[in-house]
Amino acid sequence: MRKKSSIGGKIFMALIFLFLYAPIFVLIVFSFNKAKSRTQWTGFTFDWYKELFSDSSIMNALYTTLAVSIIAALVATVVGTITAVGLSKMSRRWRSPLLTINNIPVMNAEIVTGVSLCLLFVFLGSFLKFNLGFGTLLIAHITFDIPYVILSVMPKIHQMDNNLMDAAQDLGCTWFQAFRKVMIPEIMPGIVNGMIIAFTMSIDDFVISYFTAGSRVETLSMRIYSMTRKQISPKINAISTLLFVSVLVLLVIINVRQSRQEAKAKELERKLVNK
């Protein structure tokens, strides 16, 4: 029944891609624009890319964003994986309500998570004498990252044969050795996937950061938001273009490698069959 889709279907898909990529195209093109205007093309320049690296507010925002995303993703991956292992050994009676609570930050509107954490930090801050800043921003990111790691590690633990851990321990491993040498390699795809999702969520987050970072710390998204109130400098277009191109290159490499591996596997299969 594998019928190639009609011309109409292809045109429809092309139009949707035009819709999805038009703003990105505009953004990239205007990072090379001479004037500051975002609709009037006045000539080609690399100036914004040069100026970008000497703009301390954008560079600081970039460092904050990268630092918070990397630390939060790493912490969330470790904590999330350990928690998923613990949860998988719990009885259903305990596990289901805990997983439901774990889902709250995923399901809830971002703004609700943001303002509720904001209330908590202000409340705790008045007792413990701290202000909103990098610390609260990081805690907020870890809090909304962990659920994604747990959700991506849990299925891998369930797919794993329970006897493997027991067998390793019967053969003389301590629990920790068995965990490190047997369980971790088995659930690795889930861990990596969880870490990538966590990092992506963190780096793209605006709403939760906005409510939890206070006024002295700024992520790139927050920098952009405060600029949208006046006018966005083409420098921001430039840095976004750089980030976008690096992700694009990374994805293409991963995709090409995957296709190559698949092609190799097929080749090998054919050789084996022919023998």
């Binding site: 990105i24 050994k89 399901m107 509107a109 303002v115 809090t143 629990w175 296709s259």
Partner: protein, 270 residues
């Protein structure tokens, strides 16, 4: 070694950073600034009924448009070759890696009265259209930002549907409408439902899209809440009450949608 105790640290973490903040929202919603109990925050909210109405209306319209575009796309895609599918899925995810504020801001350049769209229209001899700062612009922004979240879950369900079921339905004399209505649609419903959740919740609570593309003239629930916490109208008690009501309405809505989905699935099995 009792493995299950490994979960204890995170359970404590959740109690502090997930459960306690929501309890605080509830407490704030029912108190005044000096800490005494009140229902005033909820009665004050009546002034903003139009904002509630507009938010749910625009989120609803956007969700419907996302289904109408996303479903055919997911379906067409599921019939292509494996490599093509993977490449296209990657292309759907890729825009998410560009900061979403900037992508939305970029729509301003396109939709403005002297923007790129109108220039293009004038260039080919058509009159200008005025979209920016209207509800249409906000809906475009919502559909643009959340469409991938509708396509991906529907696609991942459709691609797993056993093709022989559709062939069987056709062999048994079903025309394409009947096959879609009785077989394909019910089987892909779980994907549509998770797509609805992933589009509707962010759409109803956004404040960036309405500020940039609605020009502050299309105030949504998100704007209202943001104003109470960080904006001009500082009043976290009212803000908490609005957030609480929004959370409850959305939860009820999702519960109904999920029930509807369960019912359909059972109907298919019978």
């Amino acid at each position: 070694m009792r493995t299950k105790f490994l979960a204890v640290p995170y359970v404590v973490w959740m109690a502090i950073f997930v459960v306690a903040p929501i309890i605080l929202v509830v407490i704030y919603a029912f108190t005044t600034a000096d800490g005494s109990f009140t229902l005033g925050n909820f009665s004050n909210m009546l002034d903003y009924l139009s904002v509630f109405g507009r938010s749910f209306y625009l989120a609803f319209i956007s969700t419907v448009i996302c289904i109408l575009i996303g479903y055919p796309i997911a379906y067409i895609l599921s019939k292509q070759g494996a490599r093509f599918q993977r490449a296209v899925i990657m292309l759907f995810m890729l825009p998410m890696w560009m900061n979403f504020l900037l992508r939305t801001y970029s729509w301003m350049s396109i939709l403005e009265n002297t923007g790129l769209l109108n220039r293009f229209l004038n260039f080919i001899g058509l009159p200008s259209i005025s979209i920016i700062n209207t509800q249409a612009a906000v809906v475009i922004g919502m559909v643009y930002n959340f469409l991938p979240f509708m396509i991906l879950p529907i696609y991942s369900v459709i691609v797993k549907i056993d093709r022989s079921l559709i062939e069987a339905a056709q062999d048994l004399g079903g025309n394409s409408v009947a096959v879609f209505r009785r077989v394909l649609f019910p089987l892909s419903l779980p994907g549509i439902i998770s797509g609805i959740t992933m589009v509707f919740v962010p759409a109803v609570s956004t404040f960036v899209i309405s500020q940039l593309l609605g020009g502050g003239k299309q105030m949504l629930l998100g704007d209202l809440i943001e104003m109470q916490f960080l904006g001009s109208a500082y009043n976290p008690h009212l803000g908490s009450a609005i957030a609480l009501v929004m959370m409850i309405v959305v939860t009820i809505f999702m519960y109904i949608i999920n029930k509807f989905g369960d019912g359909e699935e059972q109907a298919v099995m019978l």
